[in-house]
Symmetry: C2
Subunit: 334 residues, 2 copies
Amino acid sequence: MTKVHAYAATTAGGRLAPFEYELGELGPGEVDIKVSHCGICHSDLSMLNNEWGMTAYPFVGGHEAAGTVEAVGEMVRGVSVGDRVGLGWHAGACMHCGHCMGGNHNLCAEQVGVIVGRHGGFGDRVRCQAEFAVKIPSGIELADAGPLFCGGITVFDPIRRFVSPTDRVGVIGIGGLGHMALQFARAWGCHVTAFTSTDAKADEAKSMGAHAVINSRDDNALEAAAGSFDCIISTVNVPLNWEGYLNALAPKGRLHLSGAVLEPVPVNAMGLIMGQKQVSGSPVGSPRAIATMLEFAARHGVKPRTEVFAMAEVNEAFKHLEAGKARYRIILEA
Amino acid sequence: MTKVHAYAATTAGGRLAPFEYELGELGPGEVDIKVSHCGICHSDLSMLNNEWGMTAYPFVGGHEAAGTVEAVGEMVRGVSVGDRVGLGWHAGACMHCGHCMGGNHNLCAEQVGVIVGRHGGFGDRVRCQAEFAVKIPSGIELADAGPLFCGGITVFDPIRRFVSPTDRVGVIGIGGLGHMALQFARAWGCHVTAFTSTDAKADEAKSMGAHAVINSRDDNALEAAAGSFDCIISTVNVPLNWEGYLNALAPKGRLHLSGAVLEPVPVNAMGLIMGQKQVSGSPVGSPRAIATMLEFAARHGVKPRTEVFAMAEVNEAFKHLEAGKARYRIILEA
């Protein structure tokens, strides 16, 4: 039996404390990953606080894990002990429904969230269905890989599906997701504009790939940009001047929501119709999309800018995140 | 000089009365169409009532005209005197911007609406830029052609761009647009569901191509259809149970707005994200898209179901439309 030394909270919003658990017998299609690093995503915080009403305690967060495969089940193909792999939001899916068979495992109705009703990557080991342990190319360090598996794929997937290198792309919110979106969109060949409410981030946004920076709270600047974006990716989870952003789209433009804002987004039908515009959303991405992203990221040197905490400092790391101070992704080192 | 015998209103919502005007000299790139028939679209009513604040009086409506070319300007290519043609919402565009050069003339910022600041098809003649007089294939009668040029292309264009023959398609509102959407989606190869609040239309909807009919006011029926549609096209201009329709989409599904509802459509970001869904809109279509539609309509026998009024009965026709009695498109015969 394999013991995991993890960090868990026993109540909503509570402090995480050392927590040991047994993984139990390895299933024939499963792998165990020896975690070397794990990113902290804002949804770890939402889950810790049970904001979505689906958290089980003791709660072990962590769904941006990177490490090496330590054990593989007897039926596992394609992944071997010693492989450098990462694990994002999904630990498994049914593998036989239309979505899975179509390559869209992230849409499977029976998808298994790594930290939903099971234990995630804030520990020295994490288990998953083998297909969800995606190999990390040699050009990407384990210390940098984790955030690509959730924050990275969340912004890469809409670029992959909807964006042409000739497009003018806007990214709203230059945080954990947005700072990778700037890099991906720049490497994709696009003209890139960062929307941020933090003027201090302007120079850094440019160093990450933005050709231009607009203060996201400056309605006049937004109005001046009317009709100019082919795609705007929003990574924030607060209500914005949505009408202004829809107006900032060029005809045929798209507003893509990667941030789970809880208040309904009011969409002006006439504006949508006359400009032939679209509003869309998407959840992370499939294992195949993650593999495609990793290859692209390695080729272009796209990686998160990280702040590293020891795993034992997980509570301090959460405080840093909650205070909005993360620049730009926090990594826990095992 | 060419005189037009038309019907015009002189005030918002006023009765239309006989009205004569001179067309003036034919421009080198223009054509005159001898109108044989003209459909009435709900937006003729909106323009008559100046609901969009852009109506000029005397107002001659009519943007679903069909007839024969009577005169062509000296620079005109591709259209000849005697050609059977139709004219929809657009009478012209700049022809040199990126949208026009990309084949998306309906998105041109300088687009000219047939009934916006100029006179439309409720008369014996109408003038337009030659490229917007689209030839009608021999398989389509002039008496049937007009409604395809606005109502038809408005629902055909999203099908052309977004729908696969393997899709399950829903059409909300079985009126002027919706009854053609059912036919197009059926001919496209899709499984088709009609959403109508009028139970009496159920059998007719099936005769137009619907495999299934759901009462659009039956929230339980809508809930039972959760997750089942790849594309839902809304042709209505009143607020609906939008959350219910978004839930009725399958993962990767699309809600397309062809009806200009004035109240904002509240979009639940989390639902959009988790289901990787889209909300879109579009305005009629380009001349090339209209030509493509006409060829498809002729091949499949898609045509509006019409009620014919004499042009002189235009006021009675508007009353019939306003009372919600049109089954399903009114045609004025010149």
